[in-house]
Symmetry: C2
């Protein structure tokens, strides 16, 4: 009986004792003190994933950019603004058993952000030079020592979703990619539902459109299975 | 006695029968379906001004970009995203007795926003070409027929506040400029207080640092005086 009860408790909290990192939200990349480049990530899916992992017993570290979504409760929250700040927070959170990189990190930053507000000079248009941001997903996926046992990336695409996301998984070196179509007509970015592909080395699974909380629950369960199998 | 009562009521609602336009918040200028350029305006000062004008009896049209601040109550709210959308909404709201242009409108937009998400190609960095946005304040200030009786612009500066704002007033052709220093160390952008200069053709007034609601009340009272004098 005691064995049964323990088994039931463990089954309900299969991630007890596991530490999981979740990144979420957009990053903001400064142009000058008042302007910045952003993206439309609301942080809703990342917050839902952190909540779902916590519900399965995981110790969650949640690294978030300036997102509109409410922060998950009962987890460690680290607030950042730019991609470079997010990288520092992620590296500082390691080691973890699994990392879920749901943040929409800006690929580029403005190479030389201005310390004062850029003015129109004789009607001339500004020239913004860009520099590549650190690729946090690739860096963590390709770590030797200290790599999380499971690395899950996200791909927000607007066309050729499966092909772009499959190529991204290989290029980054992560284990899984959760891919979705964020074209404006899908209503997914900023909306309450999501329709994703879960892409691993072995398979592409197409999940039906469902609430972001349900996507999060299903993903958290898959992560629990993978960590107990590994 | 009746005359006295009427006089008191009119004094409390000196903007009764006046129609006032307020613009507020940032604009978002799309780069592609998921990325955009924004600015840090919270919309707090604009919302406070709309509320203060309403309290003095004005019929307020409030044109706002995607701002974090709560929308003012009891006024007509028009939600827009880009500078070009804001211009359309402003022109559609005319004629008005006074226009208060508190929005932080992007000076530039991306000349050819992409319909699909811009990808990294062989590690090359994107080139963003900019185009000048419509200058809503200048356009309204320099109207012949249909110009509001009073046009109030805002200047958010990070250095040489008075010189930049005085030059801006002349260049745009507005009657007043409310100027403030939005350097990060002032805590004004996104904060609850403001410290402004009110600049007209005749004078520069320096108002002490106070809550944004108090700045709004003082400005609304000045607008009421100007409209009753005019």
């Amino acid at each position: 009986e005691i064995v049964e009860a323990l088994r039931a408790a463990l089954a309900a909290r299969p991630l007890a004792g596991k530490r999981v990192l979740v990144t979420s939200g957009p990053t903001h990349e400064p142009i000058d003190p008042v302007r910045y480049i952003a993206n439309r990530s609301s942080g809703a899916q990342g917050t839902a994933i952190a909540n779902a992992l916590r519900d399965l017993g995981a110790e969650v570290v949640f690294v978030t950019g300036p997102a509109d979504a409410a922060r998950p409760l009962g987890v460690q929250v680290v607030e950042v603004e730019s991609a470079r700040e997010m990288r520092e927070a992620v590296l500082g959170a390691l080691p973890v058993d699994a990392g879920v990189f749901a943040a929409a990190v800006a690929d580029w930053r403005v190479a030389s952000a201005s310390d004062s507000k850029i003015k129109k000079v004789n009607g001339a248009l500004p020239v913004l030079e860009f520099a590549e941001n650190p690729d946090i997903l690739a860096e963590v996926s390709q770590m030797g020592d200290g790599r999380p046992g499971l690395v899950v990336g996200f791909a927000a695409e607007t066309d050729d979703v499966q092909a772009h996301a499959t190529a991204k998984r290989k290029r980054k070196g992560c284990d899984w990619i959760v891919a979705n179509d964020v074209s404006p007509e899908t209503g997914i970015m900023g909306g309450s539902e999501n329709a994703v592909l879960l892409i691993s080395e072995e398979a592409v699974e197409e999940w039906p459109r469902m609430g972001k909380a349900e996507v999060a629950k299903k993903l958290a369960e898959r992560i629990a299975e993978a960590l107990s199998a590994g």
